[in-house]
Amino acid sequence: MAEIVAAVGVPHTPAFPGLVAREGPDSETGKLYAQVREHLESSEAELLVMFDSDHLNTFFFDNLPALSVPVAAQAPGTNDGTPGMHNRSVQLAPALGEEVLAGLTSKGYFPSRNAKLSMDHSVMVPMHFLDPGERMTLLPIYLNGLAPPLPSAERCLALGDDVRVIIEAWDSPLKVALVASGSFSLEVGGPRIADNAIAGVPDPEWGTHVTQRLRAGQTAELVAEATTARMRQAGNVGGELLNWIAVLGAVGSRTPDVLEQQVQHGHSYAAWTWS
């Protein structure tokens, strides 16, 4: 059976590949991603299951799923003109995608099947930093974190645990790591951006509060607090916290081995050991 060997959480700020290319691997951001990457490498993970919120690039309002599971064999990225990225085709995991799609449907979820997709920076920036050798297979699981109505935190927590059960029952020798992609407080393009930038962090205190909850393993408290209104108060992409909550559903009572916050960016980096 497949084995879950680690879980991590990272931001996907589209400017970070260019920033780290300019400032080098010893820059603050370069070192934070490296910390998480080293944790993944030591776990010997071969397949990443990434909870992510598309930024209206993979999907659009013509048909916007709350939950979507790809079953394609590969997908290109990035599809959104993110600078500083090495565009490529990523090997996906259609067999696991089918297992997750069937397993979640049998448990009462309503995931959409996605047989053809391209991926934006919200997937590809984490891949850029976590898998620079491009050796890993990927299964993104898309949760709508940007366009209300958002899924509830309670449902996303249960989803993460159900995905864990499905992975652990999957007849495969692969070692799997879970990834949460996203920020806790961030506004992009909306009225609460900074006065001199296209993005801003309207609620850094929320970012710190979420990070403290993660450090203490206070998942139940965090889920109770993470209403749609509270997450949206933290920015128009504040719903990306749902991806972290899904991973917490699988992580259970474990506390992170790595947890570093970038207060000014409204996000954190985390890694959990599975054993």
């Binding site: 209206l56 003109g81 393009g189 009225p191 001199n196 930038a197 296209i198 128009n236």
Partner: protein, 90 residues
């Protein structure tokens, strides 16, 4: 009038390099590929961020107008436009 077409325009700017190049070159075929009203087209071409936001455009997608430099919009123009409703009620 529908915000859907405005949002589709901003979505296509991000994911369709051919559309993006056409709009930046003011190519009529690109402009006509989405059924915009005259007011919508004018607001996107300028771009008039305050008008677009007031007429229901998705704020996240709006930032693609700045990201790709449609109409030469500056960060100052974008910020003042998206925040205008905060200082000008109604």
């Amino acid at each position: 009038m529908s915000a859907y077409e405005i949002d589709l325009f901003n979505h296509n700017l991000s994911v369709d390099p051919g559309f993006r190049a056409g709009i930046l070159a003011n190519d009529e075929t690109a402009w006509r590929s989405i059924p915009l009203t005259a007011d919508e087209r004018s607001a996107l071409a300028t771009p008039d961020i305050a008008w677009l936001y007031a007429h229901g455009a998705n704020d996240f997608l709006l930032h693609n107008l700045f990201r790709f430099g449609v109409g030469g919009v500056t960060i100052q123009d974008y910020v003042s436009g998206i925040k205008r409703h905060l200082t000008e009620p109604g």
